[in-house]
Each structure stands twice: as structure tokens, then as C-alpha cells.
């Protein structure tokens, strides 16, 4: 059955096990059934693992944010409040699904589904550990970028179909911002692809003699910023800016439809962290510990970084966000692409010394270009101090005037 079964992965092993499964007196399982069963089991496991880890992730997120906020966070249900996400899920599932008049029911109901599918599909090509992946696509990275773009359409569907002006604001902001940030996001991973010569995530992990976060600092920073925007996380969370447009595109959703949006939004950081870990931090590879644990730890590291940013900084305005994408990230990513291309031309098969030379050059260029770009807007960034009134402590203008 083609390339899927040829690799030595969890999936292909399962398939082989099914094909070889014999009980005396019963004819062996047909090949198509083995193919289906192996696929079903793997996909079922991955989807549920992602959903369960995300559900627990909401608890971690709320507890960690609680600590950032100098408060406790949810701690009522179960030990340390561990059952809070379960209570949340039950609440959302049993909640009445209110639907406003004047919506477009088909589009309105389809939007959450279209939103969550790409968020989960990202995990299809990510290697979770050594030989553990659902599919080793030779265009894995392209697949991820293509699939995640679909989320934009879902947001616009939700915003448009709701018939609410806050939702429409959210939808328009989403379309403007998400499409702009696609460009630097795609260009920032071109550096990695040039160095690896492959779009397959499995190959990218194996090609990293030195983690690419060292060799591609600029690419990493741009990808991190652009991916934060793609997920509409702080400081780019204008799509659902609570203080401005209530809840943006999902203002009118309730019950589990709202829950689906939330679930997808909580899955997305895990997906992006997994991509970041794979592309820039050597994926599952690491000493001593098992590969799956290494991968999980790296994912958690990036995920925590996102939480940290979310808890710390305010939100940018729409025009500033667009300017940041086109005037800062886009040129920087172009610089990165050209620099990497030249390096790959000079050192087609780099040795360890040559890797580190590349890293040194890239860091120098990264720091230089960031300094230059931050100097451009320097005058806008200056702080001010208040001046003080010259009135003495005993002056009395009113009484003097009378």
C-alpha cells in the first residue's frame, strides 16, 4: 500500500501486525481492513490525545495565569482543581444552544467544525517521537501551512453568519491580519527548508546536527511572532479583543459551538509549539530521556513561553499590527531567505564547524537588523516624565482673587 507502509513507524508496524494476524481456522484479515483498522486506531488515538492534553492544558494555563496574576486560579474541583476542565466540558455540552435571529444557519453551524479540523490536522505530519508519526508526508511543512490557512475562512464564516457587528469587526480584522501574517510565516520557514533540502518534518528533525534555533535565529523569531498572530494570541489578539469587540467572531456562539472554537484555540498553541519544536529545536531528538518525553518537554517549553507573553504585554492596534507584518517581519524574512540561500550555496554539505560559522553569521545579521529596525521607530518609543507645578505649598489663588 505505497509509501505509508514502507517506513518504520508506529502506523506501519500496526498495519503489518494486522496483516500478519492469524487465528487457526479463520481466514486472515483482508489487506484493506488491516489498512482501515490501523489507520482508524492511530487517528483515533492522536485526535483524542490532542483533545485530552489540550483540555488539561486549559487547567495548566489557568493555574499558571493565576500565578502571573498573583492569585490562585481554579482549585475547587478535584486535587488542585484538576477536574475543572471536565466540569467545564460537562457544562458546555449540556448548555442550551442559543441562536440569534437573522443568522445564516448553515454557515453559522459549519464554522466551528471548519475551524477545529485544521487545528487537529496539523498533528498528522508531526513526528511525536522516534518513528512515531501518523504520516511522513514529503511535503509536510507545506501541508501544515496550507491546512492552517483554512482557519481564516472559518473565522470569516463565523463572523459573517452571526449577523452581529462585533462579529463582523472580528471577522474583518481576522482576514486582514491572518492573510498578512501568512507571508512572513511562510518565508521564515524557507530558511529551514533551504538548509534541510526537504519539506518532510521527519527529514527536518534528522537534518539538525545543530538545533536550527541556533542557526536560524531570525527565522525563529519571525516564525514565533507570525505564528502568534496566526493564532491571534497576545499581543496580536485583536480578532477577539475582549475589551474592544466583546468576543470578536464568536460573540454570538454559545454552548458546545463556542466550546469547539475555544478548544480549537487551545489546540493551536500546542500545534504551533510542536511545529516550533520540530523545526527549530531538533524535534524529538535529545540525550538520555526517551524521545517522546523530549518532544513533550520542548512543546511545553514553547507553550509556556506563549503563556508568559500572554500574561505580560498589552495588545497592539490593527494598523500597528499590519505595519509590523509588512514593514518589519516581511523585510526581515526576505533578508533571512537570501542570507540562508547564500550560505547553502557556499556550504552545500556543512560540517560541524561550518554549521557554527553559519550560526555566528546569522546571529550577527539578526542582531544587526533588529537593532536597525528598532532604531527606525526610536523617537516614538521615548518615555516622558511629568513636570511639576510651580505653585508653593501655601499659595491660594482662589482666596487671593477674592
Amino acid at each position: 500500500m505505497g509509501p505509508i507502509t514502507s517506513a518504520n513507524s508506529f502506523y506501519s508496524n500496526l498495519y503489518t501486525a494486522f496483516v500478519d494476524f492469524h487465528i487457526v481456522g479463520v481466514s486472515p484479515i483482508p489487506e484493506w481492513l488491516a489498512y482501515f483498522l490501523a489507520g482508524f486506531i492511530v487517528i483515533f488515538t492522536v485526535i483524542n490525545a490532542v483533545v485530552i492534553i489540550t483540555t488539561l492544558g486549559t487547567w495548566v494555563e489557568r493555574r499558571v495565569l493565576g500565578r502571573f496574576h498573583a492569585r490562585l486560579g481554579p482549585n475547587r474541583w478535584g486535587p488542585w482543581g484538576l477536574f475543572t476542565p471536565i466540569a467545564d466540558a460537562i457544562k458546555l455540552l449540556t448548555k442550551e444552544d442559543t441562536r440569534p435571529d437573522g443568522i445564516d444557519p448553515w454557515v453559522f453551524n459549519m464554522a466551528p467544525i471548519i475551524f477545529i479540523v485544521p487545528a487537529i490536522m496539523v498533528f498528522a505530519v508531526i513526528p511525536f517521537g522516534e518513528n512515531t508519526y501518523v504520516a511522513n508526508l514529503n511535503i509536510g511543512l507545506l501541508f501544515i501551512i496550507a491546512v492552517t490557512t483554512v482557519g481564516t475562512i472559518a473565522i470569516f464564516m463565523a463572523g459573517w453568519a452571526s449577523g452581529n457587528r462585533f462579529s463582523l469587526f472580528g471577522a474583518m480584522r481576522a482576514v486582514a491580519m491572518l492573510i498578512s501574517y501568512e507571508v512572513p510565516m511562510v518565508l521564515s520557514v524557507v530558511g529551514v527548508v533551504l538548509m534541510t533540502g526537504s519539506l518532510s518534518l521527519v527529514d527536518i528533525v534528522e537534518a539538525q546536527d545543530v538545533p536550527f534555533i541556533v542557526v536560524q535565529p531570525l527565522g525563529f523569531l519571525i516564525f514565533f511572532a507570525a505564528a502568534s498572530a496566526e493564532m491571534s494570541r497576545s499581543p496580536f489578539d485583536i480578532v477577539e479583543a475582549e475589551s474592544e469587540i466583546v468576543a470578536g467572531y464568536h460573540t454570538e456562539y454559545s454552548g458546545m459551538k463556542w466550546g469547539t472554537f475555544q478548544l480549537a484555540e487551545f489546540i493551536a498553541p500546542f500545534g504551533v509549539s510542536a511545529i516550533l519544536a520540530t523545526l527549530f529545536l531538533k524535534g524529538w531528538d535529545g540525550p538520555l530521556l526517551p524521545s517522546h518525553l523530549w518532544f513533550f518537554l520542548k512543546v511545553c517549553f514553547f507553550w509556556f513561553l506563549m503563556l508568559w507573553i500572554r500574561a505580560t504585554i498589552p495588545r497592539l492596534r490593527i494598523d500597528q499590527i499590519m505595519a509590523f507584518a509588512w514593514k518589519v517581519l516581511f523585510p526581515l524574512s526576505i533578508v533571512n531567505v537570501f542570507l540562508t540561500a547564500i550560505e547553502v550555496l557556499v556550504w552545500p554539505n556543512p560540517t560541524t564547524t561550518e554549521w557554527w560559522t553559519m550560526a555566528a553569521i546569522n546571529w550577527a545579521v539578526a542582531i544587526l537588523s533588529i537593532v536597525i529596525f528598532s532604531r527606525i521607530g526610536k523617537d516614538k518609543m521615548s518615555t516622558r516624565r511629568p513636570i511639576f507645578s510651580s505653585r508653593g505649598s501655601n499659595s491660594s489663588a482662589l482666596k487671593g482673587a477674592n
Binding site: 457587528r165 469587526f169 474583518m172 501655601n394 482666596k399
Partner: protein, 367 residues
């Protein structure tokens, strides 16, 4: 072919996460840009002024608690000062010091709320707000020691205060005065130089000093526009003339200046409180005033520099036990006058931030 567009009208409020109460802005947007807007209020109208006519002078103090419910002490002070002016009562020294201490602590608490919610409006996810509330809790604890209440204090009485501060209050106050400067430094570290905060607030929602004076805007909003007008300096009431403190002034009148005003005023308030703690001497805390005050026929207006601006009470007496007329000059309402000038031409996000930096309180706007 040009794309045909048309402006949309959106109701921001009365139910909206960042209207600071039940406030409504009817805004016409061209895309994200504000073309026109009209503030609509009255959703929290409780008829406080009319209710005051049905209550004795002492009972009205409880109504003033509910005007600006994050700065009840200042409201108490403004009201009892008006009654004292009307009845010709002078409170003893210790009472005046206690009043100034509580009013200045209240100013810090109110500015903490304003700063926290400004950052919430800016989109900082809770952290600055919760930090500000952490310190506000300590001020509320202090107030609880003074009068047993945490929000609606009714601490002040005509001719003094309800009771002398207990011994534990002075210990806790001393500790608070020691800690608070570090907390303010902490906010400044996190916020004042934050590039996102700077890009979002600088040169946004500019209020020129001329417009500010024409609209009779008062308080930190006026001073941020560079107008040197603080009632504690220009018309010293209570014991402010015995205390040395500075009045911070802004230069541009944008949102960033208004934020800076509040941070600096908190520092100055701490200075005032510690000065008061040094100067306060023992003595009675209430003048010999009967429970049923019967001021002579006449009228009086007195004002204080509240956290949000000039808060004044105009009282008319017909010689009875209740005010014949009670008019409240509430700074939140009057500070809303220039809102349209500040917001038109800005973006939706700027509008929310500017509303946050004006720091209105709906309890006071609607009364």
C-alpha cells in the same frame, strides 16, 4: 471600480466589557475609524439628589458612598464639608487629619483601579489589573480598620469622623507606606517603558488645554493637558495648606500623560499621608454637633479635589433637618464633555483606551 462602502453604527454598551459600568456610546464607524459618536447615559440613575431631600443631613452620607463607589471616602469628605460650611461647623484638627489621610488613601485606591482598568482596556490580560487590586486590597483593609466597611464607608460625619483610628491602623498604615513606593516602582517597570503601551497611548486621544478648560474638565485629565489646577493647592481645604506636596502636570494631554499623572499622584498622595502621620496630634475626632443637624436657612457649595476631579456639593437649607436641594457636581459626568473631540478620527481600539484613561465611574455620572 471603487468599492462602495457605507458607515456602520455600533452601540458600544450598555452591556460591553469595557464601558466601566452601564454606559453606552453610539458610534458611527467607517471601517475601524470613528466618524461620529454620541455618549448615552442614565442607565444607572438612582435619583440620589432627590433621595437626599428625603433624608436627614447625616443620613445623606450613605448616599454619597454610592456615587463614585471606588472613591467613597472622597465623596463623604466633599459632602460633609458642604454641610459644615452650611451649618458653620469646624471639625477638630485630628478629625481633619484623619479625613485627609483617608481621602488620600482613597485617591491611591481609585488611581490603582483606573490604571489597572486602563491596562485591561489596552489588552494586557489581567496581570496589571490584578497587581493593582492587590495593593487596593491593602487600602481596603486599612479602611476596614477605620470603619468596618470595605466599599461603602460612611466614615465621615458632619463635624468630624465616625471614630478615632484604632492602634492597629497606624501600624498597618506605616507598613503600607513603606511598601507602596516599591509597588509603584514595580508598575512603572512593567508599564511606563513598555513599547506597546507607548505606541498605543502616546499622541492618542489628545485633549488640548484650551478644550479642557472650555469644557470645565477637572482632575488628572485636566492636569495631563498641562493646566496647573489642583484644588488642594489653589483653594486649600482641610489641612492641605500645612502639607508640602507637588502637583504633577502633563505636557501633551494624551493618554500616556493621563496614565503618568495617576502614577505620580499616587506617589504624592503617599507623601501627603506620611506628612499627616507625622503632624497628627491627639484630640477629639468630632465636633459637638447634634445628630439632627439644622443648618440655618441659606445655601452653600464646597468642593474637594476628588480622584477624578472637582467633586462639589451644592446644598440649600430651609432650616429643616433635610436638605431642601442637593446638587452634585460630579467630575465623571463633566469630564465626558470633551469625549467627542478626543475620539473622532481615532480607531475603535483608541476609543476604548481613551475612555479608560478618562476614568469615568457610572455611579457618579448617573447619580
Amino acid at each position: 471600480m471603487p468599492i462602495r462602502t457605507e458607515p456602520v453604527t455600533v452601540n458600544i454598551g450598555p452591556q460591553h466589557p469595557s464601558t466601566h459600568g452601564v454606559f453606552r456610546l453610539r458610534v458611527t464607524f467607517d471601517g475601524e475609524v470613528v466618524q461620529d459618536l454620541e455618549p448615552v447615559f442614565g442607565y444607572l440613575h438612582r435619583g440620589s439628589e432627590k433621595l437626599a431631600e428625603e433624608r436627614t443631613y447625616s443620613q445623606v452620607v450613605t448616599l454619597t458612598d454610592r456615587l463614585d463607589y471606588v472613591a467613597s471616602m472622597s465623596n463623604n469628605l466633599a459632602y460633609v464639608r458642604s454641610v459644615e460650611k452650611l451649618a458653620g461647623v469646624r471639625p477638630p484638627d485630628r478629625a481633619m487629619y484623619l479625613r485627609v489621610i483617608s481621602a488620600e488613601l482613597q485617591r491611591i485606591a481609585s488611581h490603582l483601579v483606573a490604571t489597572g482598568f486602563l491596562l485591561q482596556d489596552l489588552g494586557a490580560f489581567g496581570t496589571p489589573l490584578m497587581y493593582c487590586f492587590r495593593e487596593r486590597e491593602r487600602i481596603l483593609d486599612l479602611f476596614e480598620m477605620l470603619c468596618g466597611a470595605r466599599v461603602t464607608f460612611s466614615y465621615m460625619r458632619v463635624g468630624g469622623v465616625f471614630q478615632d483610628a484604632p492602634g492597629e491602623f497606624w501600624i498597618a498604615l506605616d507598613k503600607f507606606l513603606g511598601d507602596m513606593p516599591h509597588y509603584i516602582d514595580e508598575y512603572e517597570q512593567l508599564l511606563s517603558g513598555n513599547e506597546i503601551l507607548l505606541t498605543r497611548t502616546k499622541d492618542v486621544g489628545v485633549l488640548t488645554s484650551e478644550t479642557a478648560m472650555d469644557c470645565s474638565i477637572t482632575g488628572p485629565v485636566l492636569r495631563a493637558s498641562g493646566v496647573d489646577w489642583d484644588l488642594r493647592k489653589v483653594d486649600p481645604y482641610e489641612i492641605y495648606d500645612r502639607i508640602d506636596f507637588d502637583v504633577p502636570l502633563g505636557t501633551v494631554g494624551d493618554n500616556y500623560d493621563r496614565y503618568l499623572m495617576r502614577i505620580e499622584e499616587m506617589r504624592q498622595s503617599l507623601r501627603i499621608v506620611s506628612e499627616c502621620v507625622k503632624q497628627i496630634s491627639s484630640g477629639p475626632v468630632k465636633a459637638d454637633v447634634p445628630w439632627l443637624v439644622r443648618p440655618p436657612v441659606g445655601d452653600a457649595y464646597d468642593h474637594v479635589e476628588g480622584p477624578k476631579g472637582e467633586l462639589g456639593f451644592y446644598l440649600v437649607s430651609d432650616g429643616g433637618i433635610a436638605p431642601y436641594r442637593c446638587k452634585i457636581r460630579s467630575p465623571s459626568l463633566i469630564n465626558l464633555t470633551a469625549v467627542k473631540d478626543m475620539l473622532v478620527g481615532g480607531k475603535l481600539s483608541d476609543m476604548i483606551v481613551t475612555m479608560g484613561s478618562i476614568d469615568i465611574n457610572m455611579g457618579e455620572v448617573d447619580r
